[in-house]
Amino acid sequence: MSDDATSFEARLTEARATGERLKQAIAEVIVGQDAVVEQVLWAMIAGGHVLLEGAPGLGKTLLVRTLASCLDLRFSRIQFTPDLMPSDVTGANVLVMDASGGSTGRFELHRGPIFGQLVLADEINRATPKTQSALLEAMQEHAVTIAGTRHVLEEPFFVLATENPIEMEGTYPLPEAQLDRFLLKVLVPNPSEDELTQIVARTTGHAAAPPTAVLRRAEVLALRELCRDVAVAEPVLRYAARLVGASVPESTSAPELVRRALRFGAGVRGAQSLVLAGKAMALFEGRAHVAFADIARVAPAVLRHRLIRSFEGEADGVTTDQVIEALLAAVPTRPEPVEAALRAS
């Protein structure tokens, strides 16, 4: 094995170990939710944003806070309400007063919470679309424009938005185009009995000390670079493309459930997100290449908010996860002759 290979293997091993350390640190605060934590870490390494959906009280905010502590990143939180203004998110130029209370004639930028590195957009669907779009612009561009001046946000910039699916009154559901900006939509499940017992035990005593930082900013950026080095073979890329293509109801390769229950399928961002998330997952598993299984594993989190159900699908109670399951079952990973030979073997 060459020296290059050896050093790259060492970096991969280190990345894997880092991931394990992070998970372990978070697990000291968060009980259960391993899959949620793992998916959030994929998004962070891949450079994407996460939409967390779950009932109130499941620890979404705590998870983000804990992650911020572990990563030693600047954390900020925005509680979205209907009267929240875009400038409340981005910040504004304010007139500077002198000591006597008079005007100095000079404006100074008051940065909003968006200038954090790890931003928690709590209950994002409660804000008006105008305010939502201010956040979403920053998510896409990694920059904000205030009074005509563009301000680049400091990397890593990572947004975790939360959504409450049970209180829909007075909310502004995110438009499909804006949902597409999130790399993953992670469902936060209810804890099991054991987990709940543990949560109650932990939270009803003295407050625990916040976790120590496991990863510095530079290390996060290095991991992101390493993630981009992860290779993807053409058959794997084709598999991702086939999955996305089959999610379009008009496609000839679309399964029957897709045709019946979907109005719109995933687009180009969906395919890109599949591969990026797959790379992050491969990296956390210490691999420099993406496997078919990686794509299949990240597919639900990547695609569930990109598939728009039809009226019929909604009426029948078909969930996007069911559709994704049907897609994974219907789309072959390998070319047919290879699949046939594997079946025969």
Binding site: M1, F8, A233, P235, R287, P337
Partner: protein, 601 residues
């Protein structure tokens, strides 16, 4: 710290694995081809056994070889690419697509050389540490089990005795060969070459028929297919029938109808008119002979007059053949009249020596003109002459002389003045008596006209043809102008009612309340007595020529008859409800008059 195990370079390692995989895949395809080929071969062997092609059965194994070759061709054509092999190996070795990624990066390097090196190293390690037995594509399939079974089937079919042959199908009717030294009836056809004819063309035609009959006779002597001989004789009969019907053809038909109409005006000539209308010149000739024999001069003159008018009418309508036949008949009428007069004259000379029977014959001859009475009278006269004494003969000669002088030679006589003088001289010696007896026989002999003779010859040929057909085992088809149900040579029955009395079957239309038709309307069809009828499936029919009458079974057309005539006609019995049927049918107005005129009697 231990150094990682040394791994081989990826590419040669992958090539080794790929060869193994591809070889087994190709073998699988070859075996599949062999199995299906042998299955087809088994089917072919069964078919060869069933069809009794015994020698072909072992060759059915070649289907297996062909199938294997086909499988090999398919294997080469669908040979897996490196990417496909890599995907297969990834799946079988659980390498998480590292081999595929490494090969892809070899072909198209990525942004990180370090990552490529690490991936290649991992792929090489996966191949190097992989268990070859896990990555072997399966060679045998369930379908391959067909191969030994099919091979066994081919072998069994090759060894199995062939099934017995089915009985050979019977030869087609008439295919058997006949060899006849002499076929009765053919001579009558051959005799047509000697028949007196009106024109050279007709002579050539009859000669050709005779030649064909000779050729058939020669063929039968050497042996030929029965159906071929039957077809040939049927053709000859058809040609003879065409010759017999020439007076009724399209050219002569109008003239014939006019002539028949002219003759029918005279009551005494009604039978003659009918015979002429039927185209029966023999019958017509006999009728005219009877008229010529009549003693009453006026009746004879009327008959001659009618003949002249008929000839004129036929000629005016362009029926040259009919006119010439009537002219010939008119000339013969005069000669016959003279003969009859001569006979009566001689009878008057021998009046005192005639027996009672001879007197009655003389009387009957004069009244009816019967040829039988003529014959009997001539015999009686011959006997009376033999019984004369020399003196009486002399007196008879003198009386004949005086009679001749008294009439001034104006009376029609078959004997000239010089002949009667010579006869009177000869009456005295025995040689002269013999000459006179011969003369009597000549007077008694029927002298048919040339047309009647021709017709008679054709009738004979036709009967000969029917006889020859019977001799060849065929049922002769009644031909136009022939008898309806009687034996050949008999008088024809009234048309449309063969062999029966038309008065017993009044006309009527089938299906109507007034149906008086003769058909059996009970709803069942009786068995057709046609045991000897055979279809001439492979008869040599000239595609350019129409089928002959024996095949078509056409009915004779008769002058003056139409389908709409009450009574009998060419199309059979017409019922009263069918008369004026045009008026009651949905014939378009503009065609009604034309169609009605066509069917008008």
């Amino acid at each position: 710290m231990t150094s990682p195990p040394r791994v081989e370079s990826l590419h040669p390692l992958f090539e080794r694995w790929a060869r193994r995989v591809r070889r087994r895949l190709a073998l699988r395809r070859v075996l599949t081809g062999l199995a299906w080929g042998l299955a087809a071969g088994g089917g072919a062997a069964v078919a060869a056994w069933y069809l009794r092609h015994g020698a072909l059965r072992p060759w059915a194994a070649l289907f297996g070889v062909a199938g294997a070759l086909f499988g090999l061709a398919v294997a080469l054509r669908r040979r897996w690419s490196d990417a496909e092999v890599a995907l297969y190996l990834d799946a079988r070795l659980g390498a998480d697509e590292v081999i595929s990624t490494a090969l892809a990066l070899e072909a198209a390097p990525g942004p990180s050389a370090n990552a490529e090196a690490a991936i290649a190293a991992r792929a090489a390690r996966a191949l190097g540490e992989g268990d070859p037995s896990r990555a072997r594509p399966r060679v045998l399939a369930r379908a391959h089990g067909v191969a030994p079974l099919a091979g066994a089937l081919v072998a069994a079919m090759s060894l199995l005795p062939l099934p017995p042959s089915p009985p050979a199908p019977p030869p087609p009717p008439g295919a058997e060969r006949v060899k006849l030294e002499r076929l009765a009836g053919l001579d009558a056809i051959i005799a047509l070459e000697r028949l007196a004819t009106k024109t050279d063309a007709e002579r050539e035609r009859l000669k050709q028929i005779a030649e064909d009959a000779k050729r058939l006779r020669a063929g039968l002597r050497e042996g030929m297919e029965q159906r071929e001989a039957q077809a040939e004789i049927a053709r000859l009969r058809d040609e003879i029938a065409a010759e017999r019907l020439d007076l009724g053809d399209q050219k002569n038909r109008a003239g014939l109808e006019a002539a028949v109409g002219a003759l029918a005006k005279n009551d005494a000539l009604k039978d003659a008119a009918k015979a002429l209308g039927d185209g029966d010149l023999v019958d017509f000739d006999q009728e005219m002979q009877k008229l010529a024999n009549l003693a009453e001069r006026e009746a004879r003159e009327q008959a001659k007059q009618a003949l002249e008018e008929a000839e004129k009418a036929a000629r005016e309508r362009g029926a040259g053949d009919v006119a010439s036949s009537l002219a010939e008949q008119r000339e013969a009428f005069a000669q016959r009249e003279a003969r009859a007069e001569a006979l009566r004259e001689l009878a008057r000379g021998l009046e005192g020596h005639l027996s009672e029977q001879a007197r009655r014959d003389l009387e009957e001859f004069g009244e009816t003109g019967s040829p039988e009475a003529q014959k009997r009278l001539a015999e009686s006269l011959e006997q009376a002459l033999e019984g004369l004494s020399p003196e009486e003969r002399k007196r008879l000669a003198e009386r004949l002389q005086k009679q001749m002088e008294g009439e001034g030679g104006a009376a029609p006589s078959p004997l000239t003045r010089e002949q009667i003088e010579a006869l009177a001289r000869k009456l005295a010696d025995p040689k002269g008596q013999q000459e006179l007896a011969d003369q009597m026989k000549e007077l008694a002999r029927q002298a048919p006209s040339a047309g009647a003779e021709r017709q008679q010859g054709l009738d004979e040929a036709e009967r000969g043809g029917a006889e020859a057909q019977q001799g060849l085992g065929a049922t002769p088809m009644p031909m136009p102008g022939e008898t309806g149900g009687g034996a050949p040579g008999e008088k024809p029955a009234p048309s449309g009612n063969p062999g029966g009395d038309p008065s017993k079957h009044p006309p009527g239309g089938p299906g109507s309340h007034h149906d008086t038709g003769r058909g059996d309307h009970s709803g069942s069809t009786g068995e057709v007595a046609g045991g000897q009828l055979r279809a001439k499936a492979s008869a040599r029919v000239n595609p350019g020529a129409p089928l002959h009458g024996a095949t078509l079974g056409r009915a004779p057309g008769r002058a003056g008859e139409t389908a709409n005539q009450a009574g009998t006609g060419a199309l059979g019995t017409v019922g009263p409800t069918e008369l004026d049927g045009v008026e009651r049918n949905q014939v378009p107005e503009e065609y009604r008059e034309q169609v009605g005129r066509y069917f008008q009697p």
